[in-house]
Symmetry: C2
Subunit: 131 residues, 2 copies
């Protein structure tokens, strides 16, 4: 019922912290480590753990609430919802994300990661998704 998700944020990354937090939580959500009924830590608590300001966490929570993952209420906190996935995925968003996948793959090649390793990582992800 009370959930303390494991998150790590990277201050050196170009990705803004609030989005890193949202991304990390979204992974826990889609992968079922956070399930409906769970309560996330209060924004001040998680902010303390991560070493950022509580409004930054609040912004991440609100992003996920906008996506339908959370219900936020004062005094009670952030509740994980039973969420039916959107029936009609937004075309634009999906296209952008797919392109992003191939961009990141190109970055990995550019960084000198052996193709074998890259494709192994991709296949591992593919398996994870199907389970």
């Amino acid at each position: 019922m009370a959930a303390a998700p494991r998150l790590s944020i990277d201050l050196a990354s170009v990705a803004p912290v609030y989005r890193q937090i949202a991304n990390g939580l979204r992974q826990h959500l889609v992968e079922g480590r956070l399930t409906p009924g769970d309560l996330l830590p209060p924004v001040r608590q998680l902010a303390l753990d991560l070493g950022v300001h509580f409004n930054t966490v609040a912004l991440a929570y609100r992003s996920l609430a906008d996506e339908g993952w959370l219900d936020l209420r004062r005094r009670r906190g952030a509740l994980v919802l039973e969420r039916d996935t959107p029936v009609a995925p937004q075309r634009d968003l999906v296209d952008r994300l797919l392109r992003r996948l191939s961009e990141v793959t190109a970055e990995l090649r550019s960084a000198g990661v052996p193709p074998r390793k890259i494709s192994a990582a991709l296949r591992r992800l593919a398996e994870g998704v199907e389970s």
Copy 2:
């Protein structure tokens, strides 16, 4: 020798334009559609094609030059280099990119894309990398 890479940028995306350009070019580079000896279009030309300011393109070119892909010289332009991939990929960078892959995958699931489609896209990417 003169190369006119096909690029598309998305002004609605959260990704800054200069990085979108660099990402797109990097894909052409790692996938061999741009090869050593090719000359990219002048910054003003590509900027005109894309509808952005030439300094934005210049910034993208410089990013790729920093990565060792391009040699920039005034009057001659942006030359694609013979680039030996880094022998020791930067651990931090690679970790960040791998995490990014799994974040994007989570975003796709969150957007309601059927797992089958996601894993198919991932496997397709994996195949492309190995070729």
